[in-house]
């Protein structure tokens, strides 16, 4: 279990001071696939590097199983990193790379050999053991980097955007591979990425970060269906934002009034207060309906065909845009045309009222 408590990292001083990490606190459970998700510069890599020991935080504490990590240099911390660039030693073979950490730990030669063989098998690289690292493909380098970091059996494995250098197809394969490795080894994974889809498909829990702070922590489903604030809703998936008025709350739901004047119910946090607020509605959760049945009416501005689905861009009467995503059925005939009067509707409880 890793406890991160009030970790702050400030670069520079005075007016030019930059908060790379701003009072970050999170507890990562044992055996968890935990993802730090956010745009570049949000502090996710800095947080990873404070755990690895390459960055000393200005304030705060990091504890592993109750013991503080901060006093130890990187080479004395029982955590290993898979670097974004892999950082494979170019003057060593695949097997020598994997053996490196074990040798540094002073493991007996027999054990090193056994472990290396096991790791090669685990990442399916046994036939490549004696290759130079420059002679293998990007995906293979990725596996060697993984094997090298897993070989010393760290308590926590840190992965710094390890899939970003791979092409689309390979990335998909490696996502599954990483899940498998985590399940097989039972090691806690802390995974850094800016790719929301990657985060959603792989993680047990996700921490969404922005501007040095954690904005929301939760399971992929929670993060996607119940974004706590506008940044999270906007960063993960596509979202329609509607300016609404919150009328009253009742537990986890709230009564709201749309700009069109119609009223409906939506999910909300317990702390929501009546007044002006923002409603987030996922495009796939809304439907295109005749104007008279609609919650909001408008004109169809654009129809974009995407193969699996079609996106309808509606220019609402309030002036805002609203996107609806509808799955394409076989033999489906396009019944709408741009310029048509259309309506937008969604079921009660589908929208999420956001915290400001």
């Amino acid at each position: 279990m890793i406890e991160i408590e009030g970790v702050t990292k400030i670069y520079g001083e005075g007016k030019s001071a930059f908060h790379a990490l701003d009072d970050v606190s999170v507890t990562i459970r044992e055996n968890e696939f935990f993802t730090l998700l956010g745009p570049s510069g949000c502090g996710k890599t800095t947080l990873l590097r404070t755990i690895a020991g390459f960055v000393d935080p200005t304030r705060g504490a990091i504890r592993l199983a109750g013991k503080s990590l901060l006093e130890s240099p990187p080479h004395k911390r029982p955590v290993n990193t898979v670097f974004q660039s892999y950082a494979l030693f170019p003057h060593m073979t695949v097997a020598q790379n994997i053996a490196f950490g074990l040798e540094m730990q002073g493991k007996p030669r027999v054990e090193v050999k056994e472990t290396v063989a096991r790791m090669l098998e685990l990442v399916r690289m046994t036939p490549m053991a004696d290759r130079q690292t420059g002679q293998i493909s990007g995906g293979q380098q990725q596996r060697v980097a993984l094997a090298r970091a897993l070989a010393p059996r760290p308590e926590v494995l840190l992965l710094d955007e390890p899939l970003s250098a791979l092409d689309f197809k390979l990335r998909k394969d490696m996502q599954l591979e990483l899940k498998r490795l985590q399940a097989e080894t039972g090691i806690t994974f802390i995974f850094v990425t800016h790719d929301q889809e990657e985060a959603l498909t792989m993680s047990d829990r996700i921490a969404v970060m922005n501007a040095g702070r954690i904005r929301q922590i939760g399971s992929p489903r929670e993060i996607y269906d119940q974004p706590a604030e506008r940044f999270v809703a906007d960063f993960i998936g596509d979202t329609n934002f509607v300016e609404i008025e919150l009328l009253e709350t009742e537990g986890e739901t709230a009564g709201i009034r749309l700009p069109s004047g119609r009223e409906t119910r939506a999910r909300s946090g317990a702390e929501a207060r009546p007044g002006k607020a923002t409603l987030a509605v996922r495009p796939e959760h809304a439907r295109l309906v005749p104007p008279e049945e609609a919650l909001m009416a408008g004109t169809l501005a654009e129809i974009v065909y995407f193969g699996t689905d079609t996106h309808y861009h509606v220019a609402l009467d309030s002036g805002a845009r609203f996107v609806i995503r509808q799955q394409n059925a076989p033999h489906h005939r396009q019944t709408h045309a741009t310029g048509d009067r259309v309506g937008v509707s969604f079921a009660p409880g589908v929208g999420q009222v956001l915290r400001d």
Binding site: K9, Y11, R49, F54, V55, D56
Partner: protein
């Protein structure tokens, strides 16, 4: 390292840095920077009778760099002998630089437009003479142009001339020698910027109706200007301080600054004057270097702004 470290680690890094620098700094202080300071001191002393100095303060050395007092009439006049050597050094260095540019620029262009794989080979051909002994290369030129040397033999044989031309021991021979020995210094930096030249820019210029000459003048030359400036400075500076080439090819009469300085420590037995002349040479070099840094700085700003 790029990462911000705690004060304790930063202090440790500072200490190890100091330790790592110590050997190099000691050697350089003893045999490069330190002695220069002593030269400065010597330039303000009185010459001893048989070389060396007498520890008595005097402005005479600096004074006689540019002026001389008539032995009989005590009249002041410019030290023509010194000034003409200064002028010759600067003139020959400038001419050498221009000549090296005329040959070096097309050569760098030629190499940069070869296929990628053979470029290294051509560069190796430039590097080899550059790293071979300067004295040997000067000597090779001397053999070539002496009265009974290959060039004269060839000219006599073809009947263009009736008797050997005196080429050795002239200003021309010094210049020829300097162009020969310093030419690689011109080619290397020009090639370095030429190699990075994006030839789609050249295509664009042709597409916009430029002629070959205009492409060269308006597109290629401005883009490789930093290399041209670097090359010119790299040739100009060692020419100014040249010693071996004028000594071997100038035959003792066409002196340059380097030889004038040596003279003060040999037959001239005027160490303070030699020290003052050395520092004058150093000053000219520094001016050239400052000019270079400014010119490159300006180009750099343009490139980024």
């Amino acid at each position: 390292m790029a990462d911000d470290l705690s004060p304790a680690r930063a202090a440790r890094e500072r200490r190890s840095r100091l330790l790592l620098l110590t050997p190099a700094m000691i050697i350089l202080l003893l045999a490069a920077s330190g002695p220069l300071l002593i030269v400065l001191i010597y330039s303000f002393l009185t010459p001893g009778d048989y070389g060396g100095v007498v520890w008595k303060f005097s402005w005479d050395a600096w004074f006689s760099v540019v002026a001389e007092r008539d032995f009989f009439t005590d009249e002041l006049s410019f030290a023509d002998a010194h000034l003409s050597i200064f002028w010759r050094s600067v003139k020959l260095s400038l001419m050498t630089t221009v000549a090296a540019l005329i040959f070096g620029f097309p050569t760098a262009y030629f190499i940069a437009t070869r296929p990628k794989r053979s470029r290294d080979f051509w560069m190796l051909l430039i590097m080899i003479p550059f790293w071979t002994n300067l004295l040997i290369r000067t000597f090779a030129i001397m053999e070539l142009i002496r009265a009974e040397g290959t060039v004269n033999m060839l000219l006599l044989w073809t009947g263009i001339i009736d008797e050997p031309i005196q080429m050795l021991f002239t200003e021309f021979s010094i210049m020829l020698g300097m162009v020969y020995v310093y030419l690689p210094l011109m080619i290397l930096p020009i090639y370095a910027s030429m190699e990075r030249l994006d030839f789609s820019l050249v295509e664009a210029a042709y597409d916009l109706y430029a002629t070959r000459w205009r492409v060269l003048r308006r597109v290629i030359f401005p883009l490789v200007r930093p290399g041209v400036i670097a090359g010119s400075i790299l040739v100009f500076i060692p020419c100014l301080g040249a010693y071996v080439t004028p000594r071997v090819l100038g035959g003792g009469k066409n002196l340059m600054l380097g030889n004038l300085i040596e003279l003060q420590f040999g037959q001239g037995r005027n160490w303070p004057l030699g020290a003052a002349l050395s520092l004058s040479l150093l000053a000219i070099v520094m001016v050239a270097l400052i000019f270079y840094v400014r010119a490159v700085g300006r180009d750099g700003e343009k490139a980024h702004g």
